[in-house]
């Protein structure tokens, strides 16, 4: 029995008295793919992940992880999930070796050899206490653990925030390698879009608790484009073709839906970060 979807979230809602944290979010992560969850701080990315891990209670909606509802025997499902939260949460007094010992007796499929290799790959020393780790090293230890028990799904919440570009690149490399296997999937949330842009298969935008877009990255490149022209020329385009625009004294830049623009216009390629920023600013 093969699982076609690593994650299926339907109508997930979490509200507090002051308002919605997550408003009716739905998305699906097919097996073998990497999905980037993009949103500004406080948009609801961490809330979504916490709901998926049953750390907080939902108001409504269903979550299926690796084909199983996450309210049933979730501990069994967690054997197959590697999670790194932005608060890695390993006890400060432990060192990498002790963490390995604890995990060996916690996960059924813990692989000591792989753990040792991962520690080496990420240049983490065995004996340094967690307390003395920098933020980047804490994150790397979290990832080393997540990759050492034969997990099929990785969930990373802001796992690259606060890291320098070299480490971020290393981690993206490891994620890429992880998904060489078609039963392996990754969900990674971040507000650093450039990291996600290259390796993701799917991109989802969350803003103010709402899912703005959840789409194959390639389709986004095909659907949207950038036009650069004068402000007057911009007015010639039908308004609902324009996702967002920026007007300066020297001209205008707008992200548009390619299908709604006349064919003689020159349309450039978008980047995901710009798409997100323009979408959010225009309040779409």
């Amino acid at each position: 029995m093969s699982i076609t979807n690593a994650i299926e979230v339907k109508n997930l809602t979490k509200s507090y008295k002051k308002g919605f944290m997550l408003d009716n979010i739905s998305f699906t992560l097919p097996s073998g793919c990497i999905m980037g969850l993009i949103g500004e701080n406080g948009a609801g990315k961490s809330t979504a992940i916490k709901l998926m891990l049953n750390m907080i209670k939902r108001n409504s909606g269903t979550v299926k992880i690796l084909g199983r509802d996450n309210r049933e025997d979730f501990e069994l499902t967690k054997e197959d999930i590697g999670v790194v939260l932005d608060e890695v949460g390993i006890s400060e007094c432990l060192n990498a070796k002790e963490v390995g010992n604890i995990m060996k007796h916690t996960f059924k499929n813990w692989d000591e050899k792989v753990y040792a290799e991962n520690l080496q790959k990420l240049s983490l020393s065995d004996n340094k206490k967690f307390k003395e780790f920098s933020k980047g090293m804490k994150m790397k230890l979290g990832i080393a653990v997540a990759l050492s028990h034969n997990a099929k799904l990785l969930i990373l919440d802001e796992a690259t925030a606060g890291l320098d570009p070299v480490i971020r690149d290393e981690i993206m490399d490891m994620l890429c390698e992880f998904t060489r296997e078609e039963t392996h999937s990754v969900l990674i949330s971040s507000h650093i879009v450039s990291d996600l842009e290259k390796v993701c298969d799917y991109i989802a935008f969350i803003h103010n608790g709402k899912m703005l877009i959840c789409e194959e990255k390639d389709r986004l490149y095909e659907t949207y484009g950038i036009v650069r022209c004068s402000a007057e020329q911009l007015n010639d385009i039908e308004p609902d073709a324009v996702i967002g625009k920026k007007i300066s004294p020297y001209g205008a830049e707008a992200i548009v839906e390619r299908s709604k623009i006349p064919s003689d216009w020159e349309i450039g390629a978008i980047d995901i970060e710009k798409l997100f920023v323009f979408m959010v600013k225009e309040g779409h």
């Binding site: 990497i34 890429c176 998904t179 993701c200 194959e216 990255k217 490149y221």
Partner: protein
């Protein structure tokens, strides 16, 4: 086999891969029945989305350049002379479109362009 991806160019990435593999096949770098890297491995090696490489391979298969063997992977299809000719015709057509556009922008008319072509091809003969 070399494949280079330019993230900044306007061409969609699947298109770049499709074109480059196609050219390798046409030029003979990839020979008949050579195995192509798997969709996943190609994606991971180039650090791009699996969906992109799948799309490129689907296009190549549709156009008859490659074939898939279940559980084994994708392989280069036998060179189809008709196919190649058609490819080259398509390329000529796209160049003609470009030439027409440029001609208009320079103020040349159809006869002027034909003159230029005759000159070029006359030399070759």
């Amino acid at each position: 086999m070399h494949i280079f991806i330019d993230n900044k160019s306007g061409t969609p990435i699947y298109d770049q891969i499709y074109t480059q593999i196609k050219n390798h096949i046409i030029s003979g770098t990839l020979k008949e029945d050579d195995a192509l890297p798997s969709i996943r491995n190609l994606a991971k090696d180039l650090r791009i989305s699996v969906i992109t490489t799948k799309r490129a391979y689907d296009e190549l298969e549709k156009e008859g350049f490659i074939y898939t063997v279940a559980a084994k992977g994708c392989f280069v299809a036998p060179k189809n002379v008709e196919l190649l000719r058609e490819e080259n015709l398509k390329t000529i057509e796209s160049y003609i479109t470009k030439i027409s556009q440029l001609a208009v922008s320079c103020g040349l008319n159809c006869d002027d362009v034909i003159e230029m072509v005759k000159f070029e091809m006359g030399d070759k003969e």
